[in-house]
Structures are given as structure tokens and as C-alpha cells.
């Protein structure tokens, strides 16, 4: 026992001392490495790790206190417990002051919280400290519990020896504590006396976290309903949709401005061979179901023949571009503007222009009117049509 205590005090001292050493060492190192590299990502990451570690740290210290208290009560010996509690209090104190100490110098030294190498090292130190503390608390808790189970074994002499051994794992003890379990040996005291076809019922109390969780979920539900329907601070679905669309519109406009992908049916021009090849590929992917691979459709095919001189909705490059973009939905041609970029539509339109007069075998009979390139008479009709479509949209 004395050996244990010695060990405990030694490791305790070590635990307190190490971060101080570390901190000092790192500070020195940081000063030495003068031109601090900007390492934003790693610092953010480390901060997150630090924050995440706070939870297990808190839990392990709390568990330690609980176990220590329990140990003291069970043994009717306040001495050890008091020692332990004092230790814990001391730790917490050191911890908080240390945290403040680390926070304080960061601001003035670097100006930006997440930009100096010093911060990196400080964070690493804090993480190391946290990790050590967690390990230490767990170790301490474990040793306390071990002692306890030894005591139990001694007290119960024989018979229930196995039971005592079973309880020796500290995880299990924490679990039992969390659920407020009664030891199995005391089960008789909470028997309700019910027996249904031999099924007995105990009257264990409902686990405290269950009640807390239930109350928590009710509070959550109340807040949820309040923010959506009474204070109306959270956006309802249509509002949310409008926000999303506005944001998308903004991004799209910015993108088009930068990219120069701003081709439309009025500005489209015939593209060169590489683009026609790309257009051919897209055509093979999206269009052949209705127009066949050759572009000539087939007898009884869904779409018209695109290789002859006959056109239903105009055969100029601009007309074709427009047809692809907005479609002629009442005739079965779908609008592609949400699935293909303007550039891709121009590529397909150029490809279609390029296969004119290719006379593929087994093509569909002509539909629409003969279109000849030179008649520029259609342009006026086009622009009005475009306008009406835009309005419709």
C-alpha cells in the first residue's frame, strides 16, 4: 500500500511537471525557429483535437473523484479519499491556470491565433498534457478499484468470490455507476414480489441518464417547434429553397463571367474540328436514343432525321442551338439547358451541322420544310421566339 501511494505521488508530480517542462522547451524552440511558417490547417486540427480531448479528460477526472469518494465511504476511511480529492482539485486548478497561461501569450505574440508555429507547439503541449492526465486518472481510478475489489474478496471470504472478481474492471464500474446499478447480491431488496409464470420483476430505479435524456429530448422538441413556428427564426422549407436558389444564381453568374462560357443562341458560332469531335461524343451519349448514332434517326424513330435538308424548327446553327437548349417539349424534344453547359450545346450543334448531307443508311423520312443556309429571313422570328421562351421561364 505504501508502495502504491509512493507511486501515485511520484506520477502525480511527474504529470504536473512535464507540461511545464514541455511548455518551456517548446517556447524556446519556437523562439529559435524565428520565421514561423504559416500552418493554418494543422493548428485548426490541433485545436479541434484539444477541444475533443476535454471531454474524456473531464469524464476521467470525474470518474476518479466518484470512485475515490465511493472507496472512502466503503472503507469508512476518509484519509485516502481526502488525499485523492485534494489531488484532483489541485489538478483542476493547475489545468485551468495552465490553460489561461497558454491562451494569454498567444494573442499578443502572433496577432493571428492560427498562424504561428508557437501556437502549434503550445497546442501540441496541451494535447500531450491532456493525454497524460487522462491516462493518469484512468490509472488512478483503476488502482483504487483494484484495491476495492481485493477488499471485497477478503470480506466475502468465499462463495461470492467470483462475483467480486467480475466487478474488477473499471469500465464496468463506471457503467454500473452511470446506470445506478444495485449490486447483484442486493437484488432481493428490490424484488417487487411479482411472479408471472415464474417471471419476477425487480424495481430498479430508471437509469438517471435515461431521465436526463428524455427531459433533454423534450426540451429539444420544444425549442425546435418554437424556432420554426413561433419565433420563426429558422427558415421554413420554401424560404430555405429561395435562399439556396439565390446563392446558386450568384455563383453561376460569377462563374460565367470568369469563364467566358457565356455563349447563347444569338452569339453561337460554328466550332472547329476538336470541338466537333467532342460534340460527337456527347451526341453518342445523350442523343442516340431518339436520333440514332448516325443522326439520321430511323423509320418510325422518335426524333427527326438530322442529316437531311428538312428541318422542323429551323436548320441554322442558332436554331439548332436553341432547339437543344430549350427543347420543343410538346414534340418530345427535351430541354437540355440544365444538363449540358452552353459550350457543350455549341459543340453538339456544330457536330450536327457537320453531318448534314451524310445520307446514312436506314434513315428516317424527311420532316418539316427545306432549309437553305442563305435565307437569313428567319432571324427576326427567332429573336421573338427566344424572348417568349425567356418570359415563359
Amino acid at each position: 500500500m505504501t508502495k502504491n501511494n509512493l507511486k501515485r505521488i511520484a506520477s502525480c508530480l511527474l504529470a504536473i511537471a512535464t507540461p511545464c517542462f514541455l511548455f518551456g522547451a517548446e517556447a524556446d524552440a519556437a523562439v529559435a525557429a524565428a520565421p514561423a511558417k504559416s500552418s493554418l490547417d494543422i493548428n485548426v486540427l490541433l485545436t479541434v483535437v484539444t477541444l475533443v480531448l476535454l471531454l474524456p479528460l473531464y469524464i476521467s477526472s470525474k470518474t476518479f473523484v466518484l470512485v475515490a469518494k465511493d472507496f472512502a465511504i466503503k472503507k469508512k476511511n476518509n484519509l485516502v479519499a481526502n488525499k485523492a480529492i485534494v489531488l484532483v482539485a489541485f489538478f483542476m486548478f493547475v489545468q485551468t491556470t495552465f490553460a489561461q497561461a497558454t491562451d494569454a501569450p498567444v494573442g499578443p505574440r502572433s496577432g493571428d491565433l492560427f498562424s504561428s508555429a508557437t501556437t502549434t507547439w503550445i497546442l501540441i503541449a496541451v494535447i500531450a498534457l491532456f493525454a497524460m492526465l487522462i491516462v493518469y486518472f484512468s490509472f488512478l481510478t483503476n488502482s483504487l478499484i483494484k484495491q476495492k475489489s481485493v477488499e471485497v474478496v477478503r470480506q466475502t471470504v468465499d462463495g461470492s468470490n467470483q462475483l467480486a472478481k467480475q466487478e474488477s474492471s473499471w469500465i464496468k464500474t463506471v457503467w454500473d455507476k452511470m446506470n445506478n446499478f444495485k449490486p447483484l447480491t442486493e437484488e432481493g431488496t428490490i424484488d417487487t414480489g411479482h411472479s408471472y409464470d415464474g417471471i419476477r420483476e425487480l424495481d430498479n430505479i430508471t437509469p438517471p441518464w435515461f431521465i436526463a435524456g428524455f427531459v433533454g429530448s423534450i426540451i429539444f422538441a420544444a425549442i425546435y417547434l418554437f424556432t420554426y413556428h413561433i419565433s420563426k427564426t429558422s427558415p421554413l422549407q420554401i424560404e430555405e429553397y429561395n435562399i439556396e436558389m439565390a446563392q446558386a444564381e450568384k455563383e453561376k453568374a460569377a462563374m460565367l463571367l470568369v469563364q467566358g462560357n457565356n455563349v447563347d443562341e444569338n452569339t453561337v458560332a460554328m466550332l472547329g474540328l476538336p470541338d466537333i469531335e467532342t460534340g460527337k461524343k456527347i451526341f453518342a451519349e445523350k442523343c442516340i436514343a431518339c436520333h440514332a448514332a448516325t443522326g439520321g434517326s430511323m423509320p418510325g424513330g422518335v426524333g427527326p432525321n438530322l442529316t437531311d435538308e428538312y428541318w422542323i424548327h429551323g436548320g441554322s446553327l442558332k436554331d439548332i442551338f436553341k432547339t437543344i437548349k430549350y427543347g420543343w417539349v410538346e414534340k418530345g424534344m427535351i430541354a437540355w439547358k440544365d444538363q449540358l453547359s452552353a459550350k457543350q450545346i455549341a459543340q453538339i450543334a456544330s457536330f450536327i451541322k457537320s453531318i448534314k448531307g451524310s445520307h446514312p443508311a436506314n434513315a428516317k423520312e424527311p420532316q418539316g420544310e427545306i432549309y437553305t443556309e442563305e435565307t437569313g429571313t428567319k432571324t427576326t422570328a427567332d429573336s421573338t421566339a427566344t424572348d417568349s421562351i425567356t418570359v415563359k421561364k
Binding site: 446506470n179 447483484l184 424484488d191 417487487t192 411479482h194 408471472y196 409464470d197 415464474g198 417471471i199 419476477r200 420483476e201 425487480l202 424495481d203 430498479n204 430505479i205 430508471t206 437509469p207 435515461f210 435524456g213 428524455f214 429530448s217 423534450i218 429539444f220 422538441a221 420544444a222 425546435y224 417547434l225 420554426y228 413556428h229 421554413l236 422549407q237 420554401i238 430555405e240 429553397y241 439556396e244 436558389m245 446558386a248 455563383e251 453561376k252 462563374m255 460565367l256 469563364q259 445523350k286 436514343a289 423509320p299 418510325g300 424513330g301 422518335v302 410538346e330 414534340k331 418530345g332 424534344m333 439547358k337 440544365d338 444538363q339 449540358l340 452552353a342 423520312e365 420532316q367 415563359k392
Partner: protein, 708 residues
Amino acid sequence: MNLDKFYYDNKLPKFFAIACIFWGAVGMLLGVIAAFQLAFPVLNFSEYFPNLAFGRLRPVHTNAVIFAFVGNGIFTGIYYAIPRLLKTPMWSNKLGNIHFWGWQFIIVCAAVSLLMGFTTGKEYAELEWPIDILITLVWVVFGINMFATIITRRERHLYVAIWFFIASWVTVALLHIVNSFEIPVSFMKSYSWYAGVQDALVQWWYGHNAVAFFLTTPYLGLMYYFLPKAANRPVYSYRLSIVHFWSLIFLYIWAGPHHLLYTALPEWAQSLGTAFSIMLILPSWGGMLNGLFTLRGAWDKVREDPVLKFFVVAVTCYGMSTFEGPMLSLKNVNAISHYSDWTVAHVHIGALGWNGFLTFGMMYWLIPKLFNTKLYSTKLAATHFWIGTLGILLYAIPMYWSAFRSYFMMKAFTPEGQLQYQFIDVVQTVIPFYIMRAIGGTIFLIGVFIMIYNLVKTAKKGSFVAKEEAEAAPLTKEYRAPSNSIWHSFIERKPILLLVLSLVVVGIGGLVELVPTFLVKENIPSIASVKPYTPLELQGRDIYIREGCYNCHSQMIRPFRYEVTRYGEYSKAGEFVYDHPFQWGSKRTGPDLARIGGKYGDAWHFNHMLEPTSMAPGSIMPSYPSLYENEIDRGSTNSKIHAMRKMGVPYESGYESIANDDLDKQAKGIADRLAKDNNIKVSSNKEIIAIIAYLQRIGTDIKLESKK
């Protein structure tokens, strides 16, 4: 004291157990076939068996697993446990037999009628009105038998398992009656009494609570009997039982609208669904805790006993899905999961894990008891356990994966603002996951066959105990509760009070959500341009329902950028006022169809229904050659129009008599256009014409509004 001597009947539990296992194997086999059909559409065998296409098979699978497998599982447990918990035989063997054979008859009728295409088109309530009536009758027979047994009991207080049975019985009755309100058009054809948004709300109030009061609460009752029995440990906490029983049945009923988040359902109802789902986590977990904590001090037995192993995984799966469920009802999570494979994974964790494993555990415990012997092979049972667990994992993980992949693909935009992937790209991506899922399901099914072998061997080894002798003292008239008994024990002595209280408690949530949606007009803003369907479209719609298109296609576009860009303007409540029944769907294996009208030409649909891959290469949709042979059922037009008008659809009076003229005119128009524009020769009286008419109509009314 005089002890009464009486006998427990083991015959009905045995019958129900056999039926449960048999239908379980059938239902799961159908599920495996359906799963393979999704990956390999050729397995629909459309050319030869139009009745076996996915759209018809899936409802048979879901109905078989829920009502045949789990249903018979519930009855097995109830007919075994109730007499023993109440120290009295079942009140009437005759009613028990009617219940048993009636229920099996319903199952056969259901399977046959669904494959023949008789369906109401409402998920998990697909059965047509004559079968609905049969179900009601058999359910009442079961109820009478159960309550008469309870009333003639020799045990003063009701055990928690029986509370759950009572609440389940009364709530299922309520759900079934309210949701099955339909107006018969002919024998085996009816229209839901409700339309559109209201129909959706009632349907998911039902759908969600079928999960609650058919798959969950009765099984909790079974758990409360079989788990402590098998573990030989006292139930962990009596007061936890009380808390979680009442909170569970009160809260569960509210949560239905979480199946309709971001739809056209009024948002206050959606929010109630979410809020109550979150509050439901802990009450659901109460059952898991009471189950797992009951095993305290028996964990060494769990390592040895396959029965307990099955129970532990079942209860754990229950805990997982009752946590996942509330998470899925959070708006932002639901945005990902709704219409996706995530939901499929979620229900299968529940169905395979919770219902499946609890049933298996119960059977491994019960069959040796019924045959007065030991289990034939504990080793085989352990093998079944591991194979089953592996099956569940192989099923669920690919589905989660596929859900996330398809979500990210669906919502991906190019910087220029175009959708990055077409729907078909997503379909192609998830096919490997469909295959893996089908393999997972197959493995699970193999486990079931191992169990069947093991149980048959067990039965052969032993000899059946048809009657078990027991004795107990009858209840005395006067009873004074001991001074330390808590208030709740009063309710436990009064079964009818318990029944009424349960009904009141579940009634509240239903009333608060349903009544305002029906009575307050602002909940469904009307749109002037929305008109009733033409006779041809109505016929087409009935074909759409008959073929079960709603199993793969939704008709409800949510207000998200990626959905509006892909499918069109988001759906509005007023668009569905003439939809008896609603067809919003719950899964998008295929694209949404809410704005399909006018998107493609008639010829596109004509070719697509005959051979989907011709118009959409890579499609996994079955083909429908029979639509090109069957003729439109013109004889039913009259009664259909009549029934619709009865429910308030504004057809002029007397329109019935001329409806077929309009139908012919519209059909001829479509056929003529196909002939003229696309050189397609088709007779105008074929079903394909009707379905094209319906598809071209869906979601177009609102466009007329914006044109004005």
C-alpha cells in the same frame, strides 16, 4: 384453498409457429428475388410473367414479411404466453382456430390478389376492400378471444407483456379502419376516400404506426415474456416498464409526418412529426434497456445459449433502429435519406435484426418446449446466428453506401450550374450495391433454412405436448391492494380500463394531426387551374397503380435546387386534390414523375414502356409488353367517374354516360399523332395509350396557371 385444474393448449402456438416460419421463408425469398430484379431487370421476365415484375412483387414481399411472418410470430407468442401469464387456457379454441385459418386465408388472398394487380396503391395497405373487411373480422375474432381470456384470468395483475398486446390490438384496429376508408368501384377495385395531401398524411400516420404497433409493441410484449424466461432472470425494472410503455404509445402515434418532410404537407405537421420523433428516442430505448439489463448476471449464459444470442442482437438492433429513426426525421438528415436506399437499410435493420432475430430466438426456445425435448443442434443454431448477422451487415452496409453516393451525385452541379450527373448515371453507380444487398439477403435466407432444418429435426426427436396441465387458485371477489402498491397496479387489475386508456392516449396524436388537415382550408391552398383527370387519364392512372409504379417512382418534388433543376418546379399541395389515392411514393429507384407530363413525346413513352433501354440506355426498369396487348377497361369508366364524383371530384352530373366518348376521342388523338409523326401503328384501345395519356398529364396543370 381450492386449486383449479386446467390445460394449456399447445396446438395453436404450434400452428402459428409453423405458419410464421413458412411465410417468413416465402416472404424473404420474394425479397431476394425482388432485390436481384433491381440489379438484373431481365429477371422481371416481363415477356412471360407480367405478374412478377418488381412493381407487383415488392408489395407481396413487404406484406408477406410484415403481416404473414411477423403477424404469425406475434400470434405464436400471444397464444403461448397469454394463458401462462394469466393462468387460464385461451377462452375459446374455436375462435382461435377461426383466427388461425382466417389469417392464413387472408395471406393467400393477399398474395394472389397483389400479383394479379389488385391494389389500392397505398404502401403496406395495398390490399383491396374485400380483404380489408376480412382482416377486420379476423382481428375482431382475435380481440374477443384475447379479452375473454384476460377477463377469465386467475392472475390478478396484468404483466407488462399484456399491456403491450392490448395497446397493439386496439391501435392496429384503429389504424386499419381509418386508413382503409375507401369507396368500392367494383369487386377488388376501390379508391381511397382521402385525396392528395390528406391521403398522404393518413397513409403515413398508418404506415409509421404499423411499424410501431405491429412490428414494435407486440414484439416488445414477446420480448418481455421470452427473454426473462430464457435467461431465467427477473425483469430489470418494473417502473421503467411503466414509464416506457405509456410514453412510447403516446409519442409514437405523432411521428407519422416525418415520412413527409419537405413535401407539400403543411409544415406545422411536418415539424410535429420531427419533434415527437426526437422525444421518442428514450421511450423506445426503455424497452432495450429493460431487455439488456435483465441479462445482468446472465452474460455468461449469453455466450453459450443461441436463444439469448439472438435476443441480444435483436434488442440491440431495436435500439439502433429506434435511434436511427429519430435521426432520419431531422430535416437535414431526411433531405439525404428520403427516397434513398438509406430508408431501405433502416427498415431492414429493424425487420431482419429486431423482428427476424427475436422470432428466431423465440422459435429456438419454444419448439423444444412444445416437443418436450432439447434443441437438435446448438451448433447449427450458432451457425445460423453468425450467418444471419453477416447477412444483416452485408445487406445494410451497401445500402448506406449507395444512399450517400447517390445523394452526392444527385446534388452535384458543374460550376456553370448544370447538373453533373443524369439520373441514369446514378442508377448505374448503385447497381453493384444492389447486387451486394441481394447477396446479403440470400445469406440471411440461407440461415433461415438452416433453422428450419434444425427445428424439424428437433420436432422429430421429441413428441408433441398437445396439452399442458396446470393449476391455480381462482380470483376471489374482494381484493385489497397492499398499502405499498403503486397507483399503476390499479390499472393492471382493470384490462378494460387499460384498453380505453391506451385508445385515448394514442387517439390524441392522431386527432391533433389529422383533424386540422381535413378541416382547415389554408392547409391545402387550392390552385384554380388544377382540373380532374379525363376518363382516359383516370384509366391510365389505374394502370399506373396496378403495375405498382409508385414502388420505384415518386411524384413529389421537394423544394431543393437539385430536384427542381432535375425534375421541375417543386410540388404544391393544391396539385393533388383529385388524387384518390395519392401516389407520392417513398423511394426513387427511378426518377421522380411529378412533372413528367410534356417532358418527352408520346413516341418516347411508347418505345420506353416496351423496351426502357431503347430510350434510356442503362435503365433497370422492367418492360411492359402486356400494355400493348391488353385493352382499356372501358366498362369500368362509368362506375369510376361515379365513385370519384361521390368523393367530391367535380365531374358534371351525368358525365358517366358520355365519359367513354371523351375517352375514345382522346385515345384516338394520341394514336393518330403516333401514326402521323412517328410512323407507329397502334390501336387506340390499348392500355399503353391510357398510360401515355396519364403520364403526359401529370404535373402539367400548374403550367397552365403560370401561362395565364
